[in-house]
């Protein structure tokens, strides 16, 4: 697989399928793992980083589950390619910077992504469409077991998996769920919900993980604690919390429908109208309007545009995707023009 092959392909997690996919975009689990004795990436020499990358890639090529995967060395990629992988949620923003001896392994379906030499030697990620943490857990567990049979992990019986940052020590696991909560935002209940989440030691982040702002009514919620609870218990806890938030969002949607139907319909259709006719549009405005269109589709107010098309638009209207589609560098102004053109094409053809 070449990086450009991803362009004509919809990631499994964007397909808009899976349980509760009207409210949950995707479920993700990541494991932080390190090799025994080797310094963590920030403390390792170039020679050590090279050796680590070598060792890990060698092990990965032996694993059946990773047969249809491709390893991208970041030093071989240009800035647009790197941003492209970030936009597809295949690696972190942090990973795209200072790229010596860093790599990311991606499988054909974009379900598995493994970052090598990010904050830890290994960051194994598994993405599923919809609310599907248990399936994600099962797959990532098998992959982790296979890798741990080949690689000597840094692990202590009492502290668990040892990570560069003590916030990840123990299971090294972070489960997170990307939620679309427009009704909770519109009814101004979101602050209350987010405050409750924080009290329960869960974190809320924006679309692109650590340090990013919530936009387009998207919230990524994940566990904060990784030590002292088993993996299954952590997943059960997130699962229970997310279930409650889904219920609250569904309720808020029903209340909006029964009390403010005309206003809601107006807002949703105006958003669609702008997307269908705008000639210049920024990515921020796109995300906000698409969020309303997605809500319209989920509520049955918009019937001719499916969730998958909307999900795809969120990704392909991002800067690096636009530039790859056009196959050239575009300035911010050029992108706003091209973005509007692409959206018109996708939405009016339907």
């Amino acid at each position: 697989m070449k990086i450009n092959d991803l362009l004509n392909h919809t990631s499994q997690w964007l397909k808009g399928t899976g349980p509760n996919s009207d409210i949950v975009i995707s479920s993700r689990i990541r494991l932080a793992r390190n090799l025994n004795k080797y310094p963590f990436p920030h403390w390792a020499s170039k020679a050590q980083l090279e050796e680590i990358l070598e060792k890990i890639s060698e092990a990965m090529f032996k694993i059946d589950m990773l047969k249809s995967s491709t390893l991208f060395k970041l030093a071989d990629l240009d800035a647009i390619d790197k941003q492209f992988l970030v936009e597809r949620h295949l690696m972190s923003i942090e990973h795209s910077q200072k790229t010596d001896y860093k790599a990311v392994l991606v499988d054909d379906e974009e379900i598995i992504a493994v970052m090598i030499n990010e904050e830890d030697h290994l960051r194994i990620q598994l993405m599923q469409s919809g609310f599907n943490l248990f399936e994600a857990r099962d797959i990532i567990n098998r992959l982790d077991d296979a890798l741990s049979g080949l690689l000597d992990y840094a692990y202590l019986d009492d502290f668990g998996y040892l990570t560069a940052c003590p916030t990840n020590t123990g299971t090294g696991m972070r489960g997170s769920v990307m939620l679309h909560l427009p009704a909770l935002v519109m009814s101004r209940q979101i602050e209350r919900v987010l405050a409750a989440i924080a009290k329960l030691s869960f974190t809320t982040r924006g679309l692109y993980g650590e340090g990013t702002q919530a936009s387009g009514n998207f919230f990524q919620i994940s566990n904060q604690v990784s030590l002292g609870h088993g993996e299954d218990e952590i997943i059960e806890n997130i699962n229970g919390l997310i279930r409650q938030i889904i219920e609250q969002e569904a309720q808020a949607r029903q209340i909006l429908l029964s009390k403010n139907k005309e206003v809601l319909e107006d807002r949703i259709n105006r958003s669609l109208g702008i997307l269908k006719s705008a000639r210049i549009i920024t990515s921020q405005e796109t995300i906000e309007l698409l969020s309303m269109v997605r809500l319209g589709s989920d509520l049955g107010m918009i019937k001719d545009i499916d969730r998958r098309t909307i999900n795809e638009l969120f990704i392909i209207t991002q800067p690096a995707h636009l530039q790859k589609l056009e196959n050239k560098k575009l300035s911010s102004d050029e992108r706003d023009l091209k973005r509007a053109q692409l959206i018109r094409k996708k939405l009016n053809l339907l």
């Binding site: 741990s148 202590l156 020590t169 123990g170 299971t171 604690v225």
Partner: protein, 169 residues
């Protein structure tokens, strides 16, 4: 010590911000800390608080612990406090005395109960391995849900065995 912002109330919250490896310490009262954290919102992750948390150790212990060095990677505890990242897996053994309470503050526990790797365990205390009953029970519930009763029965027996073993300890 008085709060750095209002200079009126006693400082009870100690923050260490690290921006581009520049460390900045703030000592705040609860009210100002709340305002400050509201202003910082999501830009401020838990990991950023770490170096600050490490400082919760009594100040007079500092001289002793900063000099401790990991024999494997040569990172000192002072380095860790500066960058908030450990140097290698061995650091956890080298700084065990300081990390155990720190981990407890971060996670509410410093005892791992989850899975373990198949190969190359660096066993610290043999025979002390705990099996997580919660995990087993959840696993059993799911086996029942998918009507895999054979697996559920196997897990039930395992739970029985583990809980009687743990009772006997």
């Amino acid at each position: 010590m008085l709060c750095d912002i209002c200079k009126k109330n006693p400082a009870t919250v100690h923050l260490t911000e690290i921006i581009d490896e520049q460390m900045n310490e703030l000592h705040l009262c609860e009210d100002c800390a709340r305002h400050k954290s509201a202003a910082m919102e999501q830009q401020f992750g838990l990991s950023d608080l770490l170096a600050g948390m490490a400082d919760f150790e009594k100040p007079n212990k500092d001289d002793e612990n900063v000099a401790v060095k990991c024999p494997n990677c040569n990172l000192t505890y002072a380095d860790f406090k500066k960058v908030g990242r450990l140097g290698c897996g061995e650091c956890y053994s080298a700084f065990r005395k300081y990390l155990a309470p720190l981990l407890k503050r971060i996670h509410g526990s410093n005892q791992h109960v989850g899975k373990s790797p198949l190969k190359g365990k660096t066993v610290s205390k043999p025979g002390k391995k705990k099996v997580d009953l919660g995990n087993l029970k959840a696993e059993m519930q799911r086996a029942i849900q998918r009507e895999d009763f054979e697996e559920a029965a196997r897990l039930r027996d395992q739970i029985k065995k583990v809980s009687s073993e743990q009772d006997n300890v």
